[in-house]
Symmetry: C2
C-alpha cells in the first residue's frame, strides 16, 4: 500500500511539486524506491511531471477502473478490499469465479475496461466498447439456499439503481429481474451466477455492466448511457470511478441489509422502482406462456402475476414483455 | 472403438486362442496394430496370454472401473456414452465440472479408483481406500430451475438404492436427502453440485460414492459395504463394474422419468425407501432448530415436517437426526 500513500502525497500537493526527498522521508523508503513507484504509476496511466530541484507533480489520473483509484475515498467496510483490474478479459464473471474457487474473500471485485466474451442472462452476449462502461463482478458467499439467490440479484438491481440516482440525480427503474432503465431504456444489466450444492451456495458472483460513456451509435435502440442521459456526465475522467465506487457502497449496504434479515427493506426499494408492477405482461418461462398483471415480488424473488381468472402465479425465470 | 471390438473377440474366444491373423482380418487392421492394442490392454491390467502359432487368449480382466469394461454390456441410450477413468484424482466431481465447462455432453461419467480430496455434503471429507469403492460423477444439464435441483439428488438416491437392491437382493433405505443405507448403516452417499444462473442450471454434477469392498476396519461405525452385507459379493473381479453399470442404467431411467414429468413416480419410489418418514426428528437447518414428525416429500425436494403444534414446515437443507 506504499504506492497508495505515495499517490495520496501527490494528490495533496497537486497545486505544486513535492520533492523526492520529502516523499522518501514521509514514506520511509529510499529515493530509488520513490522513483520506481513513480515509473509504475506512469505505466498505469498517471501523468506525473518531474522537475529537477522541485520534484514531482500529479498532472492527471488515468481514466481507468484501477485499484489505486477505486480504493481512494471508497470508505467501505468490507466491499472492494481486494480489487483486480484488467484492460481486457474474456468475462469479469469468469475471473471472479476463478478467484472465488481460489478462496478470495467476499467483497473481492474484478473490473475490466473491455470484455471479449461478455455475456448477459441466459447466455446472451453483452457487448460494450472499450473503456466506456463499468464492467465489474463481485464475489459473495451468502449463507443462503440456492433458491434464495434471487434476493442477491434483486438487491444488486436496487444497488445499481440507487448508485445511478445518487451520482446523476436521475430517477431510474428496474425491470424484473435484472435490468436498470432510465426512461424505459436499459442503462445497466446484472448477471448472477453461482456455484452451489443442493443446500448451500458455495459462492455467488454478481456481474454488473453499466453504460457510462457509450455513444448512442454503439448502443442498441432500447439502451442508453449515463452520458446520453445527463449530457455532461460520463465523459469526464473520474466519472466512471465515482459511479463504480457508489455501486460498491450500495452493494455493501444492500448485502448487509439482507444479512441482517431486512429483506423487506430491499424489497420495498425494489418495488418503488419496478417498472412492471401493475402492468399487463406476457411471460415466457421455460416452455410455458403466462399472461396477467404484475402485482409484486415474492420473498423468494419471484415475480407475482395475477392471471386473468384471478389466481396468482409465481414466476422464477423467464422473459417478461409488457403488453400494455 | 477398435479396441472394444478386439476385446470382444478375445472375450468370445476365452476358452481357447484366437490368432493375430484372424483378428487382423476381422477388424481390418494390421497385425502390428493388433499387437499394439494388445500391449495397451495389458497396460490397462488385462492379462492376455500369447502363444506362438496359436495367438492370444484373455486370461483375466482388470478389477478397475475403466471405459473398456463399463461400456461392455452397458446397454444405455445416452448415459455413459463418454467415460473418463482415473487411478487417482482429487475429486471426480471437480473433474466432471471441468469437463462440463468444456462442453462435454449430458451423461458423461468420471470414475476414479481413489480420491485425494473426496468430499461429501457441506464440504465434509469422503475417504475411501483405493480400488474398493465406486467413486463416480455424472454430468447433467437439466432444464430445471436451481430450486428444482433437489429433484435430481432425490432421483439419484433412488437410482443408487435400486442398483444396490438389483445387484445384491438386499433392501436398502434412503435417509433424506442423500444417504443410502442398509440396515441403518451408510452404504453410499450423493453429492450434487451445480453451476447456475438465478433462473437456469448451466450444469449439474451428481457424485456418488459407494462402499463396495471396503473392509469393516476402514469404515466409520455407522457405515457398511456391499461385501460386509452380502458376505460374498464385492470382492470378485467385475462386481464393482456390474454395480457401476446398474447405477448408470438406473440414473438414465430416473432422469428420463423426471424429463417426462413423472416426478410422482420418482417421489413414490423415494418414499417407499425413506427411513425418516413417520419418525420424530430434530433438524438443524442454517441457524434454526426444528423438531417434529416427517410426513413426506415436497415436489421441490424438501422434507415435510409436521411440528408438534400442528403446522407443517418444509426443510430444504440441514442435518436430520431421528430422535425416536
Amino acid at each position: 500500500m506504499t504506492e497508495d500513500q505515495l499517490l495520496d502525497l501527490l494528490r495533496q500537493n497537486q497545486s505544486g511539486f513535492i520533492s523526492g526527498g520529502e516523499m522518501s522521508h514521509k514514506l520511509g523508503i529510499s529515493r530509488t524506491a520513490i522513483w520506481k513507484h513513480i515509473e509504475h504509476l506512469r505505466k498505469l496511466g498517471y501523468e506525473i511531471e518531474a522537475q529537477p530541484h522541485q520534484g514531482y507533480r500529479l498532472v492527471s489520473i488515468p481514466d481507468r477502473l484501477i485499484p489505486e483509484e477505486i480504493r481512494f475515498g471508497l470508505n467501505t467496510r468490507w466491499m472492494g478490499q481486494k480489487i483486480v483490474s484488467y484492460e481486457e478479459t474474456a468475462s469479469t464473471n469468469d475471473v471472479a469465479a476463478k478467484l472465488a474457487v481460489q478462496g478470495m474473500p467476499e467483497g473481492t471485485v474484478v473490473f475490466a475496461e473491455s470484455q471479449s466474451k461478455g455475456r448477459g442472462r441466459l447466455g446472451r452476449a453483452w457487448v460494450s466498447p472499450k473503456g466506456k462502461s463499468i464492467l465489474m463482478s463481485v464475489i459473495f458467499r451468502p449463507k443462503l439456499l440456492p433458491n434464495q439467490a434471487s434476493q442477491i440479484t434483486l438487491m444488486s438491481a436496487v444497488a445499481a439503481a440507487k448508485a445511478v440516482e445518487k451520482e446523476t440525480g436521475i430517477t431510474s427503474q428496474i425491470k424484473w429481474p435484472n435490468d436498470i432503465l432510465i426512461e424505459g431504456k436499459k442503462i445497466a444489466g446484472i448477471l448472477t451466477e453461482m456455484q452451489a450444492e443442493t443446500d448451500q451456495i458455495r459462492y455467488l458472483i454478481v456481474g454488473i455492466g453499466m453504460n457510462v460513456n457509450v455513444p448512442k451509435e454503439a448502443l442498441p435502440e432500447n439502451a442508453t448511457s449515463i452520458h446520453i442521459e445527463t449530457g455532461d456526465m460520463g465523459q469526464g475522467t473520474g466519472d466512471r470511478i465515482r459511479l463504480a465506487q457508489e455501486l460498491l457502497r450500495q452493494l455493501e449496504r444492500g448485502y448487509d441489509l439482507l444479512h441482517d434479515g431486512q429483506w423487506e427493506t430491499v424489497c420495498q426499494e425494489w418495488q418503488e422502482r419496478s417498472i412492471l408492477t401493475g402492468k399487463q405482461v406476457n411471460v415466457r418461462c421455460m416452455e410455458r406462456q403466462i399472461e396477467g398483471t404484475v402485482t409484486g415480488l415474492d420473498p423468494d424473488g419471484s415475480l407475482l402475476i395475477r392471471l386473468d381468472h384471478g389466481l396468482t402465479e409465481r414466476v422464477m425465470a423467464g422473459d417478461v414483455v409488457a403488453v400494455r
